[in-house]
Symmetry: C2
Subunit: 212 residues, 2 copies
Amino acid sequence: MEQHEISKAVIRRLPRYYRYLGDLMDAGVERISSAELSAKMNVTASQIRQDLNNFGGFGQQGYGYNVKYLYNEIAKILGLDNVHNLVIIGAGKLGQAIANYSSFEKRGFIIKAMFDNNKDYFGRKVGDIEIMNVDELSDYLSNNNIDIAAITVPKEAVNPIADILVKCGIKAVWNFAPVDLELPKGIIVENVHLLDSLMQLSYNLTEYEHTR
Amino acid sequence: MEQHEISKAVIRRLPRYYRYLGDLMDAGVERISSAELSAKMNVTASQIRQDLNNFGGFGQQGYGYNVKYLYNEIAKILGLDNVHNLVIIGAGKLGQAIANYSSFEKRGFIIKAMFDNNKDYFGRKVGDIEIMNVDELSDYLSNNNIDIAAITVPKEAVNPIADILVKCGIKAVWNFAPVDLELPKGIIVENVHLLDSLMQLSYNLTEYEHTR
């Protein structure tokens, strides 16, 4: 890699910047200072400047940020100027919830198909998205240009799915199963571990009650 | 606060330790060195020692960790030795997916009721959990010992719900709506922003493709 590595904390904040700038655009705001953005986002102004300086800055001293320009630049940094095709593996409630999120498609994440091993689901649709037999996953991936696979199957079912995805050259996995996938280097993994999140909440709640 | 503040990064790793130790227990492992745990978890051994030293250590030099003891200690740190009662507000697919997670109840997170404003849902059940009219939320919270509210409603519906939760003295909010809640200090907020997660994935994918 030629450019310097951006820290995970910065990467975690980028979608928030993007979200806030989108809200500002919707509200007709054209220009904002880092101080104002800071107050809105509960991040220090110097943090915002530092974060954005990782990518070249985008602001002018004493002039602030052009909201639309910054929004579009962050979109490019996040890769949202490209369309990403997804499949969802696991057509249970969680898979269906994800399939129903209209905000994904608006950002260029297009869900092309869902897969499950439960034959009661085969041929049914969630919105426009067909639920297919997971036995067809391998063929489907070979014949379609899919970048991202969302995994919403139970823990026990993950490994055979992961094997198929690796064999078919998937680029990225969005993993909702409560396991840390061991995939070959070069495959991007992003986890959403709901129980981990709930345990963090529980930790903070317990801490807060102890210190009150 | 008397004790020193634990960093967010440590808190994020605790549920992972807990998960791995649980798997080790299930596999009948009684003792593990930080080096072995490190190899399994893809965290350096010194990181593990540092993380656990925040809470007093739990290991003996050259002897490693007692798996069951460490598992139980981390459970206490995470507040899992207490039962937490939850309600879910929003009985759509995502709310139903959360209600269906059997692993929450095993860790002491008990979902007591769901609420929605769609009358087609009223009186229906997800597993054993009844879906109630959101107009009854305030009364329900006043008469039941609820610690945590999971919010799975659309963005537009969040603010009036948050107002009710604050008025009724909720302790913690598990927020799935794509907004950063502004709640009074002292109310714990844990966010699961699915679109943010997907955008982080997209960032990493884009970065990887640029540097290949």
